[in-house]
């Protein structure tokens, strides 16, 4: 199997890259060891906490403001096309509720969370589910002066369990009937994000119709449906575009010729698969996904063993958990303006996403935003290279 581009890592970054490249007629494959962080995220696209404060060494600065804007517009288009539209302006934040009733700033949200932005200080009714493991309405009590809560018995306790039930029309009907009985007086209704494993928009419209309230979903702890919906949608969209997926296995070997990587061998037990490529994009993420690995003394990149930069002479981690300026948050791969790793022997590999040096996702609230922007930018650079 020979591809124009082989993308390693099936997260936000890799998926966006793959969609772009295949749309340009390039034969593209994605190799991913496991499901990405996106699948457990809130599903909202954080772009930046403050659009003014991005430092010079941040990947956003390298991409430039215009690229940030166009990449996010591109993302919105894809999602609309894929049937899970997103809401929001690119350089404007809006708030959502977190599961502990904090208001959190984010940029693009799935339509199911659109209404959360207007709910602050308004009367709120929380609908939850009896015995639900990962959502506790009590957290909302103090935040809203006018607060009420109703519990529906879904017959199951987990997020995914309840969401799966909502895929069943009979269950939805039962829920709507119950909801009518509740006679909710408040202006807004907040519901943990379990309204189906797919786009819940129709159901939300229906709830708004029968209650006359404005409804929004509240993301839950992992496993989180909005994140899962986003990931699944992007992956199936990419697949429909003709991208080939090799999922569930790591990479056991790479082969090279002079200054080019020529192929990867996937670690399938008993049946190693060779994937040849003209170019490669590394989007294996940070520590949490295994793109980077912290040894006791050093930090390693796990596929190509690329050099990893980390601020010199500092302890890796500061004293407080709440300190978002952790030196480790800067660790990653240093790249040229074409997203090619510096000090690497190969000229056909590109790197993007949270594995990049200085991304400092926690500090700049730029998780998925950075993935989308650098993923698209690196893909364009790769396309250019292939020409």
């Amino acid at each position: 199997m020979k591809y124009d581009v082989v993308i390693i890592g099936g997260g936000m970054t890799g998926l966006i890259s793959s969609i772009y490249l295949s749309s340009k007629g390039l034969k593209t494959a994605v190799v991913s060891k496991g499901d990405p962080v996106c699948s457990i995220s809130s599903g909202c696209i954080d772009v930046a906490g403050d659009f003014q404060g991005i430092p010079d060494d941040h990947p956003y600065t390298m991409a430039g403001r215009e690229k940030v804007r166009s990449a996010l517009m591109y993302f919105k288009e894809i999602m609309k096309d894929a049937g899970l539209p997103y809401w929001g302006e690119v350089f404007e934040n809006r708030s959502i509720y977190t599961p502990i009733a904090k208001k959190r700033e984010t940029c693009l949200v799935p339509f199911s969370m659109k209404n959360a932005d207007g709910a602050k200080g308004k009367s709120l009714h929380i609908i939850s589910f009896q015995g639900m493991k990962d959502f506790f309405p009590g957290y909302f009590k103090e935040d809203t002066s006018d607060f009420n809560c109703s519990l529906f018995d879904a017959g199951t306790l987990t997020t995914v369990g309840i969401a799966t039930k909502f895929d069943d029309p009979a269950f939805r009907e039962q829920f709507i009937l119950w909801l009518k009985e509740c006679r909710i007086q408040e202006e807004f209704i907040g519901i943990p994000a379990v309204l189906g494993t797919k786009n819940p928009q129709k159901l939300i419209d229906q709830i708004e119709l029968v209650t006359g309230c404005k409804v929004f979903e509240i993301p839950t702890l992992p496993p989180s449906m909005p994140g899962l919906r986003l990931f699944r949608k992007l992956k199936s969209y990419s697949s429909l575009q003709g991208v080939d997926f090799f999922w569930g296995h790591g990479i056991s070997e790479i082969t090279e010729e002079e200054n080019l990587v020529t192929s990867l061998i996937i670690d399938q037990p008993g049946r190693p698969t060779i994937i040849e490529g003209r170019s490669f994009i590394l989007t294996t993420g940070s520590f949490v996904s295994g793109g980077l690995f912290a040894e006791k003394e050093s930090i390693r990149e796990t596929v190509f063993n690329l050099p990893v930069s980390i601020p010199p002479g500092k302890p890796r981690l500061n004293d407080s958990f709440f300190d978002t300026e952790q030196p480790l948050g800067r660790a990653g791969i240093r790249v040229s303006s074409h997203y090619q790793p510096v000090d690497s022997p190969w000229k056909n590999i590109f790197v993007a996403g949270s594995i990049l040096e200085n991304s400092q996702i926690m500090k700049y609230h730029c998780g998925h935003g950075l993935a989308i922007v650098t993923g698209l930018d690196a893909a364009e650079n790769c396309e250019e290279y292939l020409k």
């Binding site: 015995g131 702890l221 989180s224 004293d319 978002t324």
Partner: protein, 532 residues
């Protein structure tokens, strides 16, 4: 189970006092308790004294500023010494240990796991020490059995295959938290008042004599007054601070010891190094994990402890000489505690050489301090202390704590841990298989506002993710039951996360680093806890 120390005392809820004052609560209605004996400190020693007093029919009230075992007791290694470790240098302590070891195995079956222990001799460890060790054990009454290397490896396959031989002794693993809880239970059953989360802030004196204390409830800030005839200072490393409140002096030599926790049980027996006591030479299996340590570093303050990378490096490298897997195993946490050793019992510079024996100090003002000792000998310490109190009161009732089994044990599951895995339906903590019912039971029975109380009593949050998921859930349940408000629980959550992080940070690499980035994403990202 071992609980992890170095958490700061919970702060009084912001604005709480003001609020209460506005609500007209505080109008000089200080609660007052009258009793005979006031015990300060809810570690092994304090709860041990409470039990002994209860069994001899003396009214008492115990005050602990956090939860049971919040001091050295919960931060210790969890080794019920056979005495082997002390046999060569301190035969007196060794004798105490083996005798108490046998008693606790009898009275505390659900707190003690009879693992037995091996002292392993590695290449370079001398035969002289071995002979000395065997001879000393024999003299002090500690049973020993010599195993060849292959026999020892048969028993504990993870041992360093290069070992020369091993000596078996009756070392055990002990659960210090359960031990304290059950001692307190014996007291409560007989009308003893046990107040956790109450910090003694003042000793009340009249005409030079101690007549009571003032204690502050740590969540609400409420102050209560307890009047008594005698005060027992069993506050471990805080001993001199508490003694000072009564104008007395207890010279102490505080020695910090650190430990690391591996994410699974690497050996089924306690492993010691057959050489003179040194850093990192003991590995103790504890429930589903293994603990290795310890170090010995002089400190001045019993709080604000930190663990240096050097300490972690030292413990890992020493432990992995006995059990090589310690070098690569996933470490889930480190913790540290302070040994409440007394000054002046030795002239040596090495804190480890200071006698582990204990002392009772009569301050001649109605306060007694009981200091030093070991977890293993807590019952004996309590017995001697209570004897003194009885003498003071002129009452003659003998001690029975060595014969009567600890009450309340039938409700505990005991060993092996698999006993606990009966009900898998509604699991709140996936790592330790704690169910919603378990948590609700504690919230109902203890009526707690403290996440720590739930953790200590159920093992919630003690596994590899270290409370990363279940703490949010447990707090949500406390809200459902009306124990905390949402504002309070967010504050508790923040405190918990910072404390948790301090324990994990020294061992953050490999898979634990992955887990940590996940937890960071959940709490700072999804929950939005980063901004106050």
């Amino acid at each position: 189970m071992i609980q992890y120390n170095c958490d700061p005392p919970p702060k009084v809820a912001e604005g709480y006092l003001e609020r209460r004052e506005q609500e007209g609560y505080m109008k000089l209605r200080i609660k007052m308790i009258k009793t005979d004996v006031i015990i300060i400190g809810g570690g092994a020693t304090g709860t041990g004294v409470a039990r002994d007093l209860a069994l001899r029919g003396i009214d008492h009230c115990l005050l602990e500023k956090k939860d049971f075992a919040a001091g050295a007791t919960g931060a210790c290694h969890g080794l019920l010494h056979s005495g082997g470790r002390y046999a060569v240098n301190d035969p007196e302590a060794a004798r105490e240990c083996i005798s108490e070891n046998q008693i606790l195995r009898k009275i505390g079956k659900k707190c003690v796991e009879f693992t037995e222990g091996l002292f392993v001799r590695l290449p370079g460890d001398t035969l002289e020490y071995r002979d000395d060790f065997l001879e000393s054990c024999h003299r002090t009454g500690i049973s020993t059995e010599i195993f060849s290397a292959s026999k020892a490896l048969g028993l504990v396959p993870n041992l360093n295959p290069a070992l020369e031989e091993a000596v078996k002794v009756p070392d055990c693993s002990i659960d210090p938290f359960r031990l304290c809880m059950l001692n307190a239970e014996s007291s409560s059953l007989r009308g003893g008042k046990i107040l956790t989360h109450h910090k003694v802030i003042e000793v009340i004196k009249e005409r030079g004599n101690c007549v009571g204390v003032k204690a502050q409830e740590q969540f609400s800030g409420e102050i209560i007054e307890i009047r008594g005839k005698v005060i027992i200072n069993a506050s471990g490393a805080w001993g001199s601070i508490v003694a000072k409140m009564s104008g007395s002096d207890v010279p102490m030599n505080l020695s910090k010891g650190s430990l690391i926790i591996a994410n699974h049980r690497l050996t089924s027996m306690v492993i010691n190094r057959l050489r003179p006591a040194s850093n990192g030479d003991i590995i103790v299996p504890n429930e589903t994990v293994s603990l290795a340590g310890t170090t010995s570093i002089h400190v001045n303050d019993p709080e604000n402890l930190s663990i240096s990378p050097e300490e972690i490096g030292l413990i890992t490298s020493e432990a992995s000489q006995m059990v090589p897997e310690f070098d690569s195993v996933r470490l889930i946490r480190s913790y540290t505690g302070v040994r409440p050793l007394l000054k002046g019992d030795s002239h040596s510079d090495d804190d480890r050489a200071i006698s582990r024996g204990f002392r009772i100090i009569d301050h001649k003002n109605g306060m007694f301090s009981i200091m030093g000792g070991k977890l293993t000998t807590y019952r004996l310490m309590a017995e001697k202390m209570t004897d003194r109190i009885m003498e003071h009161f002129g009452i003659n009732v003998p001690c029975t704590t060595a014969e009567k089994p600890l009450e309340g044990q039938n409700q505990l599951s005991g060993y092996p841990v698999s006993n606990r895995i009966e009900k898998l339906d509604d699991i709140i903590c996936e790592c330790e298989l704690v169910t919603r019912k378990d948590v609700e039971k504690v919230i109902d029975s203890v009526g707690t506002k403290y996440i720590g109380d739930i953790q200590h009593r159920t093992r919630l949050g003690m596994g590899p993710c270290q409370g990363g998921f279940c703490t949010y859930r447990a707090l949500g349940m406390m809200q459902e039951k009306g124990k905390v408000t949402s504002g309070e629980s967010i504050r508790v959550l923040r405190e918990f996360l910072d404390r948790r992080y301090r324990g994990i940070r020294p061992v953050l690499w490999g898979d634990q680093m992955r887990e940590e980035q996940l937890v960071e994403g959940i709490y700072l990202g999804i929950l939005g806890l980063a901004d106050k």
